[in-house]
Symmetry: C2
Subunit: 242 residues, 2 copies
């Protein structure tokens, strides 16, 4: 079945490699960051801790060492859009101007490496890594623009869940483990509000879509943020990407 799907896929849907830099799993990884050098400092934030606010002077560049971070922007009336979700190995806080263009908050307890802008400029290794991360970041943002601009609520939630299923859904999709079973457990570490703000929806819509998927037996919920996908292939087809 996955082979068949690959054959049918038009060029445009090939995996372009954007996922290779950043992990599928925001958590649980033991990433050995490129920034773990002398000149870098470390800092641990609790879950839902603020790393910096939009508009703060951009003095440091950060790398997620362990945990997960979201970047978001606010409109003056309080509307929020979460623009990126980052995991181990991802960089953030790389500024075009003098200040950060987004706020950064942790989702889970998170260890970050920090390095000053000046020191980052000086290191070729870091520059290289930065470029690589930026490129994959851009491609992820392209995907997210498609999601926000053109996908239905069901497709958005399905795409979101698929993000956290390892080795599935991309060009290199490994297909179901066995003939009879195609399950996977994903842990979100995000509140409904955070998910909604990432997907451009409301809390209620996210909740309704998840309930609907439960009703259709695509997923079951072990805890509120721990979801068992009963049929990965089925969920994948709900993303709109295939």
């Amino acid at each position: 079945m996955p082979e068949e799907r690959i054959v049918r896929m038009p060029k445009a849907e090939f995996d372009t490699g954007a996922a290779r830099c950043r992990s599928n799993f925001p958590i649980e990884s033991e990433f050995k960051g490129i920034m773990s050098s002398d000149q870098s400092r470390h800092k641990t934030f609790p879950a839902h801790g603020v790393v910096f606010f939009e508009g703060d002077p951009a003095n440091n560049i950060y790398e997620v060492a362990d945990g997960s971070v979201m970047l978001y922007k606010l409109l003056p009336d309080g509307r929020r859009q979460v623009v990126e979700i980052l995991g181990p190995g991802d960089l953030f806080g790389v500024p075009a101007g003098e200040v950060y263009d987004t706020s950064a908050e942790t989702l889970t307890e998170t260890l970050v490496h920090m390095i000053s802008r000046k020191d980052a400029e000086g290191s070729d290794e870091i520059q290289q890594h930065m470029k690589k991360c930026l490129i994959s970041q851009v491609q992820n943002l392209h995907d997210h623009a498609v999601l926000l601009g053109r996908k239905s609520a069901h497709e958005r939630v399905a795409s979101f869940l698929m993000r956290f299923v390892p080795n599935r859904g991309g060009f290199a999709c490994s297909g179901p483990q066995s003939e009879t079973e195609d399950e996977s457990v994903v842990t979100l570490y995000m509140t409904r509000q955070e998910i909604a703000d990432y997907l451009g929806l409301t809390i209620e819509t996210v909740s309704r879509v998840l309930s609907d998927m439960k009703r259709r037996k695509v997923i079951t919920m072990e805890k509120q943020d721990r979801i068992r996908v009963m049929n990965v292939c089925g969920l994948c087809h709900l993303t709109g990407k295939f």
Copy 2:
């Protein structure tokens, strides 16, 4: 009035400098590209010409020398999302994997510089420029995510139009030229379909919003793609950003 608005602006709305790398004007600029070296080739595309398709092998990196280019992605059922609009000085076709993650089409007659990936790797100058462009690209994509995820149709169209008004709307907004008049003429060089696909709307909605703005005398239309903004400050307030 503009000074007053700046004072009221919370930190979060400061211009973060994302616009500095790329021009406000996709057209009419005589940008002397960093790629205009020996090893680069040039190519001119007519308006609405295809530079490459999503999924094509990513052999070259491009720079817009003159004209404008849009990058878009398609879903298999034909839904399209334009993810970026580029002008002189902007780079595109920088791949994370082996293939392009978007398609690239010109909006107007466009001159591009091309350079092979290998040659790009070799030049520090190009690497530097590439990094700078990527960073501003990321910030523009952040803004666009907010637009797609959280803004109303009116706010989207207003934001879109403000993009093409020079020196207005950002942190460095110069304010109205005179006490009595606050006009500006923008030329879109895009069909309604392209605008709609960029803003995550339908043709009809774009058309209706523009008609509504005409009715409210915020804009007048000199030609279908040539719009006179009668009240820049007024339009700016419709963007939702202030």
